[in-house]
Symmetry: D2
Subunit: 286 residues, 4 copies
């Protein structure tokens, strides 16, 4: 967590000799001070992944000049890359239904500036959480979803998201399945929290499934949404111990805590550009 | 862990008023000193589960008299029950293939008397671990298993198990699927360690499956063997964190540690009569 | 978590034969249906600890009659005992300073009825969290504490606590040390969350101490307040992994999550009468 | 875990612009293929820490030429640095007393080539574990230590360590305190496993101390030995949950498992050059 203004450069490219040398020579030639650096070589895909945090004030130019200059290096190595500026908080639009534990948790983290993000608005298919959201000074949009209005409702949802210049959509226990075209268009920008340790207990009522099977731990999974339900790239997971004495209600209670923790961690990794997709997997530079 | 000689009484029966009163009145009337007691009421099956450790020397009679006297109480409440004597160690026959991490671990725990069990013999379908087993003074039986000899091999295995008066068979990474009739006959007496967090990644090569899916934790599961592969009652599970930097070889290495720990805990619970089956689930009085 | 109305009986007494028999005979004679039972025999203090949840509707009388009838049993065994009624929620007065993570967390759990407690009021030595508390419909009392006003301030605090008929005071990161006489008078009724894994890093700035020492895990401890600072009976603890890359600010951020979780669990155990003091230790029947 | 032969370069130096550029330019100019890279900037000490694994066969020269060529880069940046060759296993001399759980564990990991180390010999102040060590084909040296013979015994110990060209000494529950001069001479080359979560419960009988205090978790700590008892740089720690039902004997049993795991992880990090000392703290590139 670097409080001084910094740029975060992330990239991936086909692995070969000289990637780090080229990037670091570029940065050193402009006096760039690296405050955090992470590397990963994927032997299966033979791709190289890199993340660098650079002190903004150590560079003689702004982020636009950086982009135009770095484009040459990037081209040579066929890099997929992006650079973000810590002075511009990531804009996270939160979608909820009736369950409010993740919402409470995220609003606290936002209010206490626990990591660098804004919540420009909250969208819900129910109108029950308006008061709590608006108390925080955040706009609340009620977009009901019924089988008949589904298409229009999601058009409306996307319109709101774009109106607020959202960077990322978080499904914080939003009990609706997004249309495939939205999943495709916003690939890597929609994050879901699923209340099981995937790939166990996909789909509906995972805690009931866990109770029936008699598992000794339950879990939660934060993942990118893809067209295939609960099968997108996993960002973060965790588990917690239960035992024979725990009813479904107990499991749900324990589960809420693990959901909150896993979503908060996964979202922070994403917001801080620590997550790079690698096929259907993720590289997470914690 | 009570070192003084004690009897462990376990039972389950249809739930109703008066079970604890009847059992504890019986014990108190014979001056029985309870050193540990556990209870569980299953609201689904409406059954009551109970485990009591009683100091042997506090009772005026031996275990056989206990059994005959307690039979009346048990009958009234339609109890399934058993009582064991800590002076008679549980006899655990270990089955292995080539992987030796669980074997090393179990032999250490046996040698250091970590809990109250004997290993009367080890059976393997390979002859590679004989030296290590025999160094511990434990007989080693090599029973090769081929597709053609399968039926005979398992008859031989059961014969050895029975010759040694085995109480429990542990499949300590024994890479063979037992015939259905053995699973049925010895239900609740065969324990397996599966190298995944079930129900995820059933069947073969679970660590490779986990690597492919990109999960952020891997696990292991200790369960009773039933005719349905990797679907028996779960005794114990645990998970450990991995990340994108971990190859399949790394995952296997982390996995071995979690397998050892989960099998050792699960086996101890079983040996100490802490595990009561409840349909396809378990009550584990830790 | 039993939703039907139930009484929770907890007791401890010198260990001897017949305790369980006497209690369960008493319950069975009045048709009491036991939904949860826990026992513990402490070999050091030679005391027996017991907790029973009994379905209220299974008994032919109310809690006052229960008390008068049970007093005879209790007397014979020299029991310290209490019985509580799930229809009467535990009243938890929360004390805070400026840090609001535990407050947010507790208010969510209260609002969502995660367990059976009320927050009749919040008391703070600062006036910054009034809005959030009052939004929840909970009275907020600002009682400033300065070196000069300390005695009066704590008298005022106790007066408010008593006016609201508080059962328990929770110091949810309340940065004041209570006077010794309050600690003594309310022994077992004041719960603190300390932001270290006690007994490591007692006193001030434990996260800074942890950073300096270079530990690889940090922790939090929920304990009863006694006159000796950070040395009271421990109810619950947990730890979380950190590494060399984590600054003090990162450690504080991770720490908040573990503090919230540990305080919430510890408070729930206390509220549900799962915690029995045993000298300077606790028996926690989870 | 890279199985192809590789060199591991580790270094630390005062932080400034251009370190990574210089190192990676050097590697790229010789066609060095980086398979793993880790970086850390310590804001307190203003030092930079770096670890690189380079494929041996990608370089046109051997490790000696590497050393002479890299010396120039290192000099410019005032680096403390070392490079190791995966073809030459790290030589770990194990010191034990009577407790054998860590020894069993380490011998298994050595035998199964879990990571890249050799155990040239085992030294003990008792003669009880000779058979098990020698069965593995490893020389066993019995060096008794009494108050009178202490000086001579440690001279003998060091002589044996040096005769076997030991790289690292592991105190695997070796119940003797090493003389200060040995601690100083071999700073960073002697690893101890302490059976508590340091800095809690330093010194003797930590499990008894933990039992007395009533903590809800116990732990173990792997650290470098310094002249100050149990106060050296921490490499790895972990904790495990206990409860009121656990006797000291139970705690010791749980503790053994956590000691084995923590020592094995810490030793692997050290052997793989993942641990860099940073004052009295460590940077651990996992």
């Amino acid at each position: 967590m670097n409080t001084a203004r910094h740029y975060t450069l992330t990239l991936s490219c086909p692995d070969r000799v000289g990637i780090v040398a080229a990037v670091s020579a570029f940065l050193a030639s402009h006096n760039g001070w690296i405050v955090e650096a992470n590397h990963h070589a994927d032997n299966e895909s033979v791709r190289y992944f890199l993340r660098q945090e650079i002190l903004a004030e150590s560079l003689p130019f702004d982020i636009d000049v950086f982009k135009s200059k770095f484009a040459e290096v990037a081209k040579e190595f066929r890099m997929e890359w992006r650079i973000s500026d810590s002075a511009i908080p990531h804009r996270v639009v939160v979608l909820v239904s009736r369950e409010d534990h993740c919402l409470y948790d995220l609003l606290y983290r936002w209010k206490s500036k626990e990591f660098n993000f804004d919540i420009p608005c909250v969208i819900s298919n129910h109108d029950v959480l308006r008061g709590f959201v608006e108390w925080h000074g955040i706009p609340f949009h009620h977009v009901p979803v019924t089988p008949e209005t589904k298409v229009k409702a999601f058009e409306e949802t996307i319109r709101i998201f774009e109106d607020y210049c959202g960077d990322t959509m978080v499904l914080a226990r939003y009990m609706q399945i997004l249309p495939a075209d939205i999943c495709d268009t916003y690939l890597g920008r929609i994050i879901n929290i699923h209340h099981s340790f995937l790939p166990s207990f996909m789909g509906a009522r995972p805690y009931h499934q866990a109770f029936e099977r008699g598992v000794k731990l339950i879990g939660a999974t934060c993942h990118y949404v893809t067209t295939e339900l609960d099968a997108g790239p996993i960002i973060e997971q965790d588990t917690v111990r239960i035992d024979h004495g725990d009813s479904v209600a107990d499991i749900i209670r324990y589960g809420k805590d693990i959901e909150k923790a896993v979503l908060a961690r996964g979202l922070r990794y994403h917001v801080e550009d620590r997550v790079l997709r690698d096929g259907n997997k993720t590289v997470v530079f914690r």
